[in-house]
């Protein structure tokens, strides 16, 4: 068994040979005197066995009694290794120093990992935690996870849940983001429905409330479509929470102007890297020269060092300076029109997201200095918006 082998190595053992006399008596006396023997073999009357180093001295009187002569052979184990290097003080000092460094470093936080965030930036979470006292290099016992969790949730309203787990010198932050509910006026609150856009009503389904317009009417932005004040049969006014689906045909316009003369910045291909080492929050630059002068696009790359997949709190930061040059470009009318069209399409995706477009009419006007693309859209959309009736 491996544990027995380890113990034998730890205490050290000696292989010896015994010849002459009565080897059987020798073995029996060893067993009676609690001297463990193993790997015993007898060949041509010569007994070979192993025993623990500290028991070897006790073999001599037993050997005398049984008439055998013993001779020590190979020695193995930790005591002999230590004895061989007993004058090498540096090894002992190095071991002590190593143990001390490991112990001291384990008292600090090395890495902080954030999991579970989708829309909230990791840097935002780390920045908030850093202000509360949790950062790489902070002592492990300098923060209370429970208190830190509550304070972090107050600082980060986009999170609904946060857990701090400490594993040795690594801290794992698990978060769950808050799902912001849309503003809905409670059903017990009275409200009107007003138009958020001008248009012509093509579909009107009123579930609750008094309709003020009908299908086919043209309405302007802000006009009342369904009233929450309803009169009953006896002439009394009742307040209701209006609910309706009102689809109207609306008009939207997107205009983009693209001048012919443009100035574009392009990289020249010259790159200057400035490196620095960062550990426990300290940054040591590995360069002496000042930042380069001129027009540069600056980007930062951080490469943390890893050992067997575990990130260390030591990283190499590279600040890259990409030289840029300004180039005056003259576009032709067609090129300008194409650029303007692509800008319109990009804007379409943002403005008309979720809206049904019935008709799209683009117009291109090529002027002297610029090209203008105007696109008119005929859309069908829900223009009703609930507005609470405020009562004094």
């Amino acid at each position: 068994m491996i544990i027995i082998k380890f113990l034998r190595f730890f205490f050290g053992y000696v292989q010896f040979t015994a010849y002459g006399g009565f080897p059987e008596r020798f073995l029996n006396l060893c067993a009676r005197n609690n001297i463990p023997l193993w790997s015993v073999s007898c060949t041509n009357g010569v007994l070979t066995a192993k025993t623990l180093a500290r028991r070897y001295k006790k073999l001599r009187p037993i050997a005398r009694k049984s008439g055998v002569r013993i001779k020590a052979g190979d020695r193995a184990g930790l005591p002999f290794i230590l004895h061989r290097y007993r004058k090498r003080v540096g090894i002992a000092v190095g071991l002590v120093l190593f143990a001390s460094v490991i112990f001291v470093l384990s008292l600090f936080v090395w890495t902080i990992e954030v999991r579970g965030n989708v829309t909230t930036e990791t840097s935002e979470i780390l920045s908030a935690l850093s202000e509360l006292g949790l950062y790489p290099g902070a002592p492990c016992n300098s923060f209370d996870p429970e208190m830190l969790k509550n304070e972090a949730l107050l600082k980060l309203p986009s999170l609904s849940w946060l857990a701090i787990t400490t594993k040795g010198s690594s801290v794992i932050i698990e978060v769950r983001e808050r799902v912001i509910a849309p503003e809905i006026i409670p059903l017990d609150k009275p409200c009107n429905i007003k138009a958020i856009k001008s248009g012509q009503i093509i579909l009107m389904e009123v579930y609750e409330g008094q309709p003020m317009v009908k299908k086919g009417d043209a309405v302007s932005e802000g006009s009342l479509l369904v009233s929450g004040v309803v009169s009953d049969t006896q002439g009394r006014s009742l307040l209701k929470h209006s609910r309706a689906k009102i689809i109207a045909q609306t008009t939207r316009v997107i205009t983009v102007e693209q001048p012919y003369a443009t100035v574009i910045t392009e990289p020249t291909g010259n790159t200057i890297d400035r490196r620095s080492i960062s550990f426990f929050g300290f940054e040591i630059p590995l360069y002496l020269s000042p930042p380069p002068e001129g027009k540069f696009d600056i980007s930062s790359i951080e490469k943390p060092l890893e050992v067997f997949g575990a990130k260390l709190p030591i990283s190499i930061k590279i600040k890259r300076y990409d030289e840029m040059s300004e180039i005056k470009q003259a576009l032709s009318q067609d090129e300008a029109a194409a650029l303007a069209e692509s800008a319109v399409l990009a804007q379409e995706k943002i403005d008309l997201s979720g809206i049904k477009v019935i008709k799209r009419t683009p117009t291109v006007v090529k002027g002297e200095k610029s090209c203008t693309v105007t696109v008119e859209y005929i859309c069908e959309e829900n223009i009703g918006l609930e507005e609470e009736i405020l009562l004094e």
């Binding site: 059987e24 073995l27 067993a31 193993w38 015993v40 073999s41 007898c42 060949t43 066995a49």
Partner: protein
């Protein structure tokens, strides 16, 4: 009529009091007796608990004292893997086990 007769090797030994007690109490006989316990792993390793010493030790034959009788182990390349006051472990190529009275 001759009532007394000498014991021969064919006679089956009578059950001892301990054996009878064990059968009455329905417990294993080994629980009441301190006879040696022998475990054989194939023909490669033999463990004897209750061994009282070594009587003979050769490369091809080892004789052990079990108290009331002796055990001779015959084989090839026999060696004592471990030996303590009460236990002996023999390894090697075991060919024959003989109980000697």
């Amino acid at each position: 009529m001759a009532r007394n007769r000498t014991k021969t090797e064919d006679d089956v030994p009578k059950k001892s009091a301990k054996q009878k007690l064990a059968s009455v109490l329905e417990v294993p006989f080994a629980a009441l007796n301190d006879c040696p316990h022998i475990e054989l792993f194939g023909n490669l390793e033999l463990t004897i608990d209750g061994c009282r010493g070594i009587l003979e030790y050769e490369d091809d034959s080892i004789r052990l004292n079990l108290g009331k009788n002796a055990l001779r182990v015959t084989g090839r390349n026999l060696s004592l893997k471990a030996l303590t006051d009460q236990t002996a472990v023999i390894e090697g190529y075991i060919l024959l086990l003989e109980f000697l009275s």
